[in-house]
């Protein structure tokens, strides 16, 4: 399955991915309208220090512990993509606790937001990948992982 991968050697820590992500998932067609003067809730987060930075987003694990642990049944796996159902999420943060990658974070109203590979939003392909200025984030097939 194609996944989003980060080549930390080329990540500049510019955080454009975070803004492109938040915009792609805003449902709006104007980035300014979507993000200006508002708190931003991206589904990808740049982490690191002064020496190295990398963007973290959901790995879409083969055997996802978040799905197993979700007490509300809000997380599910469809065609390999782990999806979150905001209507079911109760904001208990168990998934945040169990995710070994730290890939999940709550959104504005406390329900979980997670990367769904932009397959169903306005971008249609991962916005973080499309907008990365240094090709540090790629969307490709690399074989299955745990």
């Amino acid at each position: 399955m194609k996944r989003v991968y980060v080549n930390e050697e080329w990540c500049l820590g510019c955080r454009l991915c975070e803004y492109n992500c938040a915009f792609a998932n805003s449902g709006l067609s104007d980035m300014v309208l979507a993000l200006k003067d508002k708190p931003v809730f991206p589904r990808i987060h740049v982490e690191g220090d002064e020496k190295i930075t990398y963007a973290v987003s959901c790995r879409h694990c083969e055997d996802p512990v978040c799905v197993k642990s979700c007490i509300a049944g809000a997380l599910s796996k469809e065609n390999g993509v782990i999806k979150a159902d905001p209507d079911r999420c109760v904001g208990c943060l168990t998934c945040v606790l169990v995710c070994p990658y730290g890939a999940l974070a709550p959104g504005e109203n406390g329900v979980m937001l997670k990367c769904e590979l932009c397959l169903e939003n306005s971008c249609g392909e991962p916005a973080c990948v499309k907008g990365c200025p240094n090709r540090a984030i790629v969307y490709e097939e690399r074989g299955e992982t745990a």
Binding site: L12, C14, Y19, N20, F23, L35, K36, D37, A136
Partner: protein, 501 residues
């Protein structure tokens, strides 16, 4: 220090309607122009630090930024321009020699733009490069004057060593140190993929790039930095750098701050020491001395590699080239006064040397007149900006062109001309690891290959229009060129007729 009199040259115009305060501009500016003011809840800028490299403009996701030249200028004066006055202020502030980067930006004549190319009509049909084979390959090196046969009648095919180029363009010298590891990686990979060559400049060859040796020209310059046996063996050709178009008559100076880690190892000098290339080669004071170095290098590499001698285009270039052609060199590279640099004294860059178009035309004619044109191939650089410039250069007599400014532009350079600060926001002219990583060689090499592929297509179109199907048939074919708006003397030197003639 009191008032410096230097009002910022640029203004950072930020559309507050569009700015989403994502702070990408702040993170990407090595000059620290942008910052976020929590008190104001908005981005602010210190335009006095801006060099107009446009990194922030290019990365701003909402296109909220533009950099404009400040219209706060001094009273108009046709003699004392704003730039001239600013230079006076700078020197009065610092007492130093003015430094500049990249090529001469002054409004001197660009002869390429006053030369027009011919096309076939009616009596001599043009060729469609999409339907007919077209040859853009060139071979650089000494060519035999005549065919010879062995006693049993067979053709003697022993040629002196040649460089084979898929198109008449190579990437010219930029040292590892003046430009980054990733810039070199991009050039090396692109040259290999394109079937042409890049040039190490005077900084040695990083051990990671020996694998691209078959597409590398290794340079030996006055400082001899990074020169050792394996280095000479690694390259496809060896270039002796006598001069550079941007700074004829002076050497080089890479500040110690750039001599870090691998740069120091590759140059074979201690970390933090300034790399000073002397103005002359201290062992070369005549053509005979040059001949000794040419043959030392040939001897060291068993006569398997062509030797290039690179000189800056200066007043007596034809006589100089004639001497070089007799020195045993296989290729002469001439660098015009608009050639780029990572740092040069401004006065030298802007006032020394001559245009490459005139130098090329007079060298080609001189070598032909003296019957030694086949002794050497001619490569010209110093602002070859497009495929049309390449075609004009070939028609004026060049075997190939050297491009570097066009190559760094392809890598992202925005010609802000502040390479000397070492804070290149595009990851090209810098050694700061956080900036170097901004140039991903996967992207860089791809862009260079794209650029050269596009030029090659255009060269074929231009050749086809002239009814020429081989670049070799265009070389020195000055009948294919006409001048516009040039005086008699200029036309005479260029060896071309005026348009309409």
């Amino acid at each position: 220090m009191g008032v410096e009199f230097l009002y910022p040259e640029y203004e950072v115009i930020r559309s507050t309607d569009r700015c989403i305060a994502c702070r990408v501009c702040e993170r990407q500016c090595a000059n620290e122009v942008h910052s976020y003011s929590a008190e104001r809840g908005a981005m602010i800028s210190d335009e006095s630090k801006c060099v107009n490299c446009q990194r922030c403009v290019s990365l701003c996701p909402t296109r909220a930024l533009k950099i404009v030249r400040s219209d706060c200028v001094l009273k108009a004066n046709a003699n004392w321009s704003n730039d001239t006055i600013r230079e006076i202020y700078k020197q009065a502030n610092s007492g130093g020699v003015l430094l500049s980067s990249m090529g001469n930006p002054k409004s001197m004549p660009v002869y390429w733009d006053r030369i027009l190319i011919n096309a076939s009509q009616v009596t001599n049909p043009p060729i469609d490069p999409l339907r007919e084979p077209m040859e853009t390959r060139v071979f650089l090196g000494k060519k035999p004057d005549r065919m010879t046969r062995s006693p049993d009648g067979r053709l003697v095919c022993d040629l002196p060593p040649q460089l084979e180029l898929s198109m008449p363009v190579m990437f010219s010298a930029m040292s590892y140190g003046s430009i980054s590891y990733n810039a070199h990686a991009s050039l090396a990979r692109a040259a290999t993929e394109l079937g042409t060559y890049y040039n190490t400049g005077e900084g040695g060859l990083h051990e990671d790039f020996y694998k691209y040796g078959a597409h590398t020209v290794v340079q030996v310059a006055s400082g001899r930095f990074g020169v050792h046996e394996d280095y000479l063996e690694a390259g496809a050709a060896i270039e002796i750098k006598m001069g550079q178009g941007a700074k004829p008559g002076i050497g080089g100076h890479l500040p110690g701050t750039k001599i870090v880690g691998d740069v120091s190892r590759t140059r074979m000098i201690p970390e933090g020491s300034d790399a000073i290339s002397p103005a002359p080669h201290h062992d070369i004071y005549s053509i005979e001395d040059l001949r000794q170095l040419v043959y030392s290098l040939k001897e060291a590499t068993e006569y398997k590699k062509p030797i290039i001698v690179k000189v800056a285009a200066v007043h007596n270039i034809a006589a100089i080239a004639s001497g070089i052609a007799r020195s045993g060199a296989d290729i002469i590279a001439i660098d015009g006064f608009r050639g780029g640099t990572g740092a040069a004294p401004t006065r030298i860059r802007d006032n020394v040397g001559i245009p490459i178009e005139l130098a090329l035309a007079s060298v080609d004619r001189r070598l032909r007149d003296e019957g030694i044109r086949n002794n050497v191939s001619l490569v010209v650089g110093g602002s070859v900006r497009s495929s049309a410039d390449v075609v004009k250069a070939v028609a004026l007599g060049a075997d190939a062109c050297y491009v570097a400014t066009a190559a760094v532009l392809a890598l992202g350079c925005h010609l802000c001309r502040t390479c000397q600060t070492g804070k290149c926001n595009w990851g090209i002219a810098t050694q700061r690891p956080d900036l170097v990583k901004r140039l991903n060689p996967d992207i860089g090499s791809e862009r260079l290959v794209n650029l050269m592929t596009a030029w090659r297509r255009e060269i074929m179109e231009l050749m086809g229009g002239m009814g020429i199907n081989s670049i070799e048939a265009l070389r020195g074919n000055r009948l294919m060129l006409r001048g516009v708006g040039l005086n008699e003397k200029e036309l005479e030197i260029l060896g071309i007729s005026h348009a309409g003639e």
